[in-house]
């Protein structure tokens, strides 16, 4: 599939989704908006891979999904972090920080 994001991006998306859900249960639309706002449009994120990530994370047991009602009273699928997902987020966050620090170290003028 040509539009499939790269591995790096896929992993990145997962951690962003988990991070979003740390705020509390939310539906896919809310996750999408929150990430877009936080990245200020720097990252070009489509919604299709985002939803795929949500369901993949559900299958992995990192998030749990339940049907509920949105703020405008429509049936919506809400996701929340499971304890497993919380741990996963912590691990990935740490890994990202180490990675970024290493890259910065290289880029800093000597």
């Amino acid at each position: 599939m040509a539009s499939e994001p790269m591995d790096l991006l896929q992993g990145t998306l997962d951690v962003l989704v988990l991070r979003a859900l740390r705020l509390g249960p939310m539906h896919g639309y809310a996750v999408s908006r929150w990430i877009r706002e936080r990245t200020d449009g720097v990252l070009e994120i489509e919604d299709a891979p985002l939803y795929k990530a949500l369901h993949r994370l559900e299958q992995a047991g990192h998030v749990a999904a339940e049907w509920g009602f949105s703020e405008n009273n429509r049936r919506a699928r809400f996701y929340r972090l499971t304890p497993d997902g919380r741990r996963q987020l912590k691990d990935e966050e740490a890994a990202w920080r180490r990675y970024a620090a290493a890259v910065f170290k290289v880029l800093e003028p000597a």
């Binding site: 599939m1 539009s3 639309y29 919604d47 299709a48 891979p49 795929k52 993949r56 429509r74």
Partner: protein
């Protein structure tokens, strides 16, 4: 995550709808937001879709993932349910230990007995022989005038040259070896003489060394021997270097050429094999009348067995054309080796298997009734669980889990029980039951056991479930529903099961009764001798050392006189055989002076050669004339004694004394036979249930033989002189092994060991069946009484006496039993015909057995009903009626 109540699993359609909902919610939200910020709806929609990306791909992907999630959830829910079902079942079963224990023990008994018996039957009858493509091996049997199945040396040559559908043919015959080793007791071994191609015909490979090569069965070839693996391990410490060494066997040196792997104990449980060595004379047409060899053939691969069988019969016809005299009334047939070995065992073993299956059925019936009683007692539990939302299938699953657990535990205990039972069975099995020693609980038996457990578990789970769910559960909850329709229906099922159980027990009891009566008849047969206080043992004088008749006679005289002189020995004698030891030796004879008859029409009789004291030792009465005397020596006039049957059969209207009989046996050029000097009583030499053979006795001194049985009548228990008697042989010739050391009573017992085995097994099964049926009957009556406490209370209040009440209860038990007995007896009449062939002197419709069984069950039924009846009679009307 642990869920406290179950969400229904989503179907494929539901997943599809959910995904669509989720995605369209997203788009709608985005469009609304964009519109709110001032965009036109169309532009907003276009932007939302663009932002989303490949929505079709996402949809497909999400559906697939959700589908997997759902499947995994279903699996884990199922496992969780199963786990909780098992935990619940264990708790329930532990909560009623008496029920559990009874059910498990009953099932263990039924399943264990079946596993053990099936293992024996499998080992003896069903398991293929340990030869590659063993189904292509056939015995070629020759029956002449309805007798025998042996063949002659020329027969083998005939078949080898004429048959096209066979890979080959081989001869075999029994062989006994006196093996003498340094620093070891001489040992007597059973082996076989076989054609050189024997092992290649069986397609067996040697463990070490080689088997016989072509030409090693000619008389001029060096003497070679193949040892069996068990013998090699036992006597030669499994030393491969034994191959190539020489052994002293039957006073000759033989070179060991190879070791045959274990499990090849065919024919005749052989422990060693030597090649048959036919002389030119053996192979000539002159021996066409002498038949003593077994013949084995292997049908070519791809050749239909029927074609091969027809070919064998065809060759026999051709030979009859060439030698009409020798082949007169002779029929050749080929039967599969396994069938030939199993022979007449098939019927009794299948009868035993059927009997033990009936025991299992009865055991199952008992457990079924227990489960029904339990199901009734649990009606309200079930109703409550239904009310709490458990589906019917969920309840059935719970019940099936419980019964599966019971049957699995029962089966496990049964296998342990079977292991023990196998030991007992093999120990008491007749020694001549082929392959029984190697019978074991193997994969096949365990698979059958597991299958039985599975079926039983399912059945018992579903049966009470159906019984329970059939009724109105809510009704049961509301009222406790005494006397409800379901209850009555359940009771009817229980009664039916008990009556069926009684019927089954009756069939087993009649079968066992008939076999036991037949066995008693057999033991009541007068064998023609007094078997108590007689010790017997055998020696075989190797022809190499004892090569002349005087040498044999001299050894025999010393042996007899020294044995007779032993303290505790009242009399000692020698003979070529003793009654019931499985040896018999028939020859044709002519009476001197009678009209000449063609050789093929000459009568034949069993020939025995004995010393003078033989009849004294055995206690066989002399009816006329005189016994043999010490003077009946080699050079004295030749004499003979015959038995009553001989006289009746051949000399009914004349005086036998003084007649001279010549038999078809020549030793050192002397035609054997003698003048009849006495008549003795009939002795059952072959079997207690066989007709007495016409028998012709010759004095041992005049007709000495190499195979000698020493018999000694003792004052003390016969076993006490065993070592002294062995000592006599050792002093005379230390290289002679002594074997077949048995009291005469042991010979008698061994001769009826099959009948005893069958009767014992069936007796045990019938007893178990009776006990189980009694327990079942007791259970049902006791339960009925406990349920009718209220009604009985009313009856007592209305003036019924205790005696009347208990009579009523007992009557109920007796009626149930009577129905079962009636059906059982009718079934037995048919079933007994199957075992008619196994019966001696008892008709398969023997009234004593049938009436006895009916009475026995009547008594048992009365006893089983008596305890609940007494309880019923003591019902206190006030308590009973208030108890509601």
């Amino acid at each position: 995550m642990r869920r406290f109540f179950q969400l229904p699993w989503r179907t494929r359609q539901q997943i599809r709808a959910d995904v669509d909902d989720e995605l369209s919610f997203h788009l709608d939200m985005r469009i609304d937001a964009l519109v709110a910020s001032g965009m036109s709806r169309d532009a907003a929609r276009a932007q939302a879709i663009r932002e989303f990306g490949d929505i079709d791909d996402a949809r497909r992907y999400i559906r697939a993932v959700d589908h997997d999630i759902e499947a995994a959830r279903r699996r884990s829910d199922y496992m969780n349910d199963l786990r909780s079902d098992i935990v619940y079942a264990v708790r329930k079963l532990r909560g009623s230990p008496m029920f559990t224990l009874t059910a498990v023990l009953t099932l263990a008994l039924g399943i264990g007995a079946n596993t053990a018996i099936f293992s024996v039957v499998n080992g003896v009858l069903l398991k293929p022989l340990p030869f590659p493509q063993q189904d292509r091996l056939v015995r070629i049997q020759f029956r002449q005038q309805g007798h025998g199945d042996a063949s002659t040396p020329p027969d083998l040559a005939d078949f080898r040259t004429r048959a096209r559908g066979f890979d080959g043919f081989s001869h075999f015959e029994g062989y006994t070896a006196n093996l003498v080793r340094e620093h070891a007791e001489p040992e007597r071994l059973v082996g076989a003489e076989v054609s050189a191609n024997w092992f290649s015909l069986l397609r067996v490979r040697p463990l070490h060394g080689r088997f016989f090569s072509v030409g090693e069965d000619s008389p001029s070839a060096p003497q070679v021997v193949v040892l069996s693996e068990p013998l090699w391990r036992r006597d030669f410490a499994a030393d491969p270097a034994i191959v190539g060494k020489q052994l002293q066997i039957n006073a000759q040196l033989m070179t060991v050429v190879g070791i045959a792997p274990d499990g090849q104990g065919y024919p005749m449980s052989a422990e060693l094999w030597v090649p048959t060595r036919f002389s030119a004379r053996d192979l000539s047409d002159a021996t066409r009348g002498a038949r003593w060899l077994g013949m084995l053939g292997r049908v070519k691969d791809g050749m239909p067995l029927e074609t091969a069988k027809a070919e064998v019969e065809g060759i026999e016809k051709q030979m009859e054309g060439l030698f009409p005299e020798q082949f007169k009334e002779r029929r050749a047939r080929a039967i599969q080796l396994q069938t030939a070995i199993v022979g007449d065992l098939q019927r009794p073993l299948y009868v035993i298997m059927a009997a033990v299956a009936v025991v299992l059925l009865i055991a199952c019936a008992n457990v079924a009734n227990l489960m029904l009683v339990r199901a009734t007692a649990r009606e309200s539990e079930m109703a409550i669980r239904t009310a709490l939302g458990a589906g019917r299938s969920r309840l059935v699953r719970q019940l099936v889990t419980e019964s599966m657990l019971l049957s699995i535990v029962g089966a496990a205990a049964g296998v342990a029980f079977a292991k023990w039972g196998m030991g007992v069975l093999i120990a008491m099995a007749p020694a001549d039951l082929p392959r029984v020693k190697t019978a074991a609980i193997d994969g096949t038996a365990l698979a059958v056991t597991a299958g039985a457990a599975l079926v039983i578990g399912l059945l018992f789970g579903v049966l009470p479930a159906v019984q329970t769910s059939a009724g109105d559960l809510a009704n049961a909850l509301r009222a406790g529903a005494r006397g409800a329709r379901t209850r009555r229906q359940a009771n009817r099922t229980k009664r039916f099961i008990v009556a069926a159980e009684v019927a089954l027990a009756v069939t087993l009891l009649t079968g066992a009764g008939l076999l036991i009566r037949s066995f008693r008849e057999l033991m009541a047969v007068n064998p023609g001798f007094q078997p108590d206080h007689i010790m017997t043992m055998r020696v075989l004088l190797p022809g190499k050392t004892y090569d002349t008749l005087p040498k044999i006679a001299s050894f025999a005289r010393q042996l007899e006189s020294r044995a007779a002189a032993l303290p505790g020995v009242r009399a000692a004698a020698l003979g070529n055989a003793v009654p019931l030891d499985g040896t018999s030796f028939w020859l044709t004879f002519v009476v001197r002076g009678s009209a000449p008859v063609r050789p093929s029409d000459q009568p034949s009789a069993s020939i025995r050669t004995v010393t003078p004291n033989y009849f004294t030792v055995l206690g066989t009465p002399l009816l006329r004339g005189r016994a043999f005397a010490a003077d009946d020596r080699v050079n004295a006039p030749r004499v003979a004694i015959v038995n009553q049957t001989f006289v009746k059969r051949f000399m009914a209207n004349e005086d036998p004394i003084g007649k001279y009989v010549e038999i078809g046996w020549t030793i050192d050029g002397v035609r054997q036979g003698g003048q009849i000097v006495g008549v003795v009583g009939d002795v059952r030499d072959d079997a207690l249930n066989a007709d007495v053979d016409p028998t012709f006795y010759l004095p041992f001194d005049q007709t000495p033989v190499e195979g000698i049985v020493i018999t000694a009548r003792t004052a003390a228990p016969p076993a006490s002189i065993t070592s002294a008697l062995r000592g006599v042989v050792r002093d005379l010739d230390p290289t002679l092994p002594v074997y077949d050391v048995q009291t005469m009573e042991q010979h008698v017992a061994a001769s009826v060991s099959r009948q005893r085995f069958y009767a014992t097994l069936l007796g045990v099964f019938a007893t178990v069946a009776l006990v189980l049926a009694a327990v079942g009957l007791y259970g049902v009556i006791a339960y009925a009484v406990s349920q009718r406490t209220h009604e009985l209370g009313v009856r007592v209040a209305l003036g019924a006496t205790g005696t009347r009440i208990s009579r009523m209860v007992i009557g109920e038990g007796v009626i149930l039993t009577a129905a079962g007995v009636l059906v059982g007896l009718v079934a037995s009449l048919g079933g007994a015909r199957i075992i008619a062939k196994l019966l001696y002197n008892v008709k398969s419709s023997d009234p004593v057995t049938f009436v006895g069984v009916a009475l026995l069950l009547g008594v048992v039924a009365a006893c089983a009903s008596y305890i609940p009846a007494r309880r019923a009679a003591r019902v206190d009307p006030l308590v009973a009626m208030r108890g509601d």
